[in-house]
Symmetry: C3
Subunit: 343 residues, 3 copies
């Protein structure tokens, strides 16, 4: 057979490094599409001039363009037969991605644990995105539940990696040259700065976006993510196409501009859960909670740790979990990340 | 509260200059999307080679890309709480916008007039779009009806600016270097030139485009226009998303290629009315009327003043107004602009 | 009348060369949109680095971007009044198209044959796509059935060109510098090489894409194809918009990555039939058959002749024709092309 059947649980070996296919050169075209697909307005990613005023050579590609591009390449090898995308940890953006850069991805298998039912198992990978010079621009740990093909095979020795609950402030990487000393708050669209956000503060981002099939498919294809369930209406019994979880991440992040316009750069992904599936016709909203704050060595640059929650229509304000500790059905995403913000 | 509630009528002061947020660098990506979103075919904006044959360094960005980009930035400050977009006047394109340019916007409040009901008022602004060197690339006057938040506040002294009915031919700005002496009519797609159009002549542009939700949302987001009513199906009681009026302008302008392919550059916006709302599923058509003609100092370059009318399915030929002087329900747009055309 | 009514059968003269309007400069924007519109993953068109490893200066634009751009320009002159798009032959890609190139098209009428009903006729044209230096980047023969306007006019002397069943291997043009000696099969996403494909072998490409109205209209507009039937839901009695046949070609070609990821460059179009119409909501799948193989003079580069068949939901495996020799109703496309593949 010449087509890719995807890997099953028994196909992964601890320590192996999987080179993912189809490197990708990014340009202003991907940036323009990102602005068309998401209500993205963070000034640093929108304007070369604004970025220069912050000490960068030009506007980098949105951090989530880098994430989606790196992630998309892993799908044929990691999640084609995945039953569930279970979590993220230890994600760090290490170098900005510029128009013209070519990204490729590779993943190391760092954990394997068969489920007690013997029908599936959890695969842990550390994925690295590299640019054309071999620099790691982004890495993160992700774990997925994958089916076994041959149920008779014995379970491998279980290995579950120890993962940090969140990236420590001292491990955050600030892009070289970043300087918020002369930050233009008027052009950024928001007067509130790092000192104005209090631990535990919650912000309702107000706006909502009703999602169409064409939009999430354009986005998901753009990242060369090939999972059938996003594109093929005959794949699920209910005839619905499941929206790529990353599409919801980008929607929520873009909506968070309204209240967090100065949370300019995403530098770490601490954790993330796709709490419930999102479908065409859903109206996505978002809220954030300030989880932590830290200083950095860069001039004028503070770090803020945020919980970003995406919900769909019908959710109560700041909806998250029920009395049973489980996510409410209207919650789509619970993401924990670090961003950089002017002091 | 950290989110933007938008301004209300009492928040505007005569003479104040509002700096709009989120500057934007444009590239070939925005141009490609413009071609995908609208049936745009004017050769000067499609081909670097054709533009060089007309004395320009390369193909500029479509004039309406400049307009939408500048306009979109004003929405959070001017029209987030607007009840209606009442009119445009004195619009002039002053410099071409090239790929790589970064645009920002600012608006001066030039008029304020509370309505007799005491619940809302009309705000007049002159908006300027500037590039990275500080040149004004475009300016125009727009007036909107905005709600009052505090109905108890007294009305300001009414000031209504005197606005020209149309930009005088002598005030039109022809891009530096433009020369239609060697214009290639075959490659432009139309043999008719300036002399072939008669005052009062009406042209039915024949083609129609049925609009989808995904398309108008992609477009409106691309211009970073954040008005909720375009994106959130839960915002209106009828569950419909209102299509951004500028989307209809671009559709109609692109459709006008069929009959006005040589009306290459838009240089002035004299007036404009969004006569009726447009919704997904509407099939948009367009017709034009020649309102005026003028010569310019540039070689081979004439100016033509056009009424561009967009209608939806079910309209009679050249539908505009009823016996009562009001726009017919199938009329979406009535736009009055100057374009440049080869002699 | 200033609008284009399109040409009718009696308007074509044998030997005339029609210069098509609206040259087009392509950029990374069109490439990004291509990746968003189709699940395109062939590495040579995705990555500048990968292309350099194959001896090219950078990643060329996808061969089908070149085809659609050249084809789209011909529509107002060739197929606006076409009843049917009957066939393709003798298509060759002669030079890669790079970002920044400007394409224009011209067609020579090489055959005319009125139908026996006297109401329509077949027009054969050889279309050439040229870049800004005048190089032919692509040419192909296409024939369409066009209505007569004046049924009283006499039939022209019938001329039917002799067309090759397929481009001979010796006539294939390999891009200058192409060298697959150091081809990276891991990054290409497929371990199978030229020698692994057997004559007569059939490959089911597995994946499916359900098509939305917004998607095919964005694509078709991007190529500046103006045929009403693709955009105007009021045009057909059933209210459906017919999907541009080229959209199905690109979908099927992109889907064929899964099994033919190393069929990198399309160098010839031998034949093609749009067997049945495609509409929004259809789920498109594809399969391929190896028709022929040949060597080339370029290092490490083989040629493979493929039949690419697109089908919609409900088709049997490798569905093609019924016992009556006619295409089955679920078959959308039957395309015969040559591609280049590493030895």
């Amino acid at each position: 057979m010449k087509t890719n059947p995807g890997r099953f649980f028994e196909d992964y070996r601890l320590g192996e490094v999987i080179v993912h296919a189809v490197p990708r050169t990014l340009s202003g075209g991907e940036r323009a599409l990102y602005h068309a697909l998401y209500p993205a307005r963070h000034a640093l990613y929108s304007s070369d001039e604004f970025a220069r005023g912050c000490g960068l050579a030009a506007a980098p590609m949105d951090d989530l363009i880098a994430f989606h591009t790196v992630f998309g390449k892993t799908v044929p090898d990691i999640s084609l037969n995945a039953v569930a995308n279970l979590g993220y940890a230890e994600g760090r953006w290490r170098h900005p991605v510029w128009p013209g850069d070519t990204l490729r991805s590779q993943s190391e298998v760092i954990g394997l644990k068969e489920n007690s039912n013997g029908k599936s198992g959890v695969v842990y990978v550390r994925t690295r995105g590299l640019n054309q010079t071999g620099e790691v621009v982004l890495d993160y740990v992700r774990w997925v539940m994958v089916r076994k093909r041959n149920l008779d095979l014995p379970a491998p020795a279980p290995v579950v990696p120890e993962l940090k609950k969140s990236v420590a402030p001292g491990d955050l990487i600030v892009p070289e040259g970043l300087d918020f000393s002369n930050y233009d708050f008027a052009l950024a669209g928001e007067g509130h700065r790092w000192g104005d956000y209090a631990l535990g503060e919650k912000i309702d981002h107000v706006d909502g976006v009703t999602v169409e099939e064409a939009e999430h498919m354009l986005a998901t294809r753009l990242w060369q993510n090939t999972a059938k369930v996003h594109f093929d209406a005959t794949n699920r019994e209910d005839g619905r196409r499941l929206i790529y979880g990353g599409h919801v991440i980008s929607l929520a992040r873009a909506l968070s501009f309204n209240g967090l316009a100065n949370a300019q750069l995403i530098v770490a992904l601490n954790a993330g859960a796709h709490a419930n599936p999102c479908f065409s016709g859903d109206t996505v909203r978002a809220w954030s909670e300030v989880l932590d704050k830290a200083e950095t060595a860069a001039p004028g640059v503070g770090a803020i740790r945020l919980r970003l929650v995406a919900v769909k229509q019908g959710g109560a304000e700041f909806a998250l979990k029920g009395a049973d500790g489980k996510y409410l059905p209207e919650v789509l995403l619970d993401l924990d990340y670090w961003a950089l913000m002017p002091l």
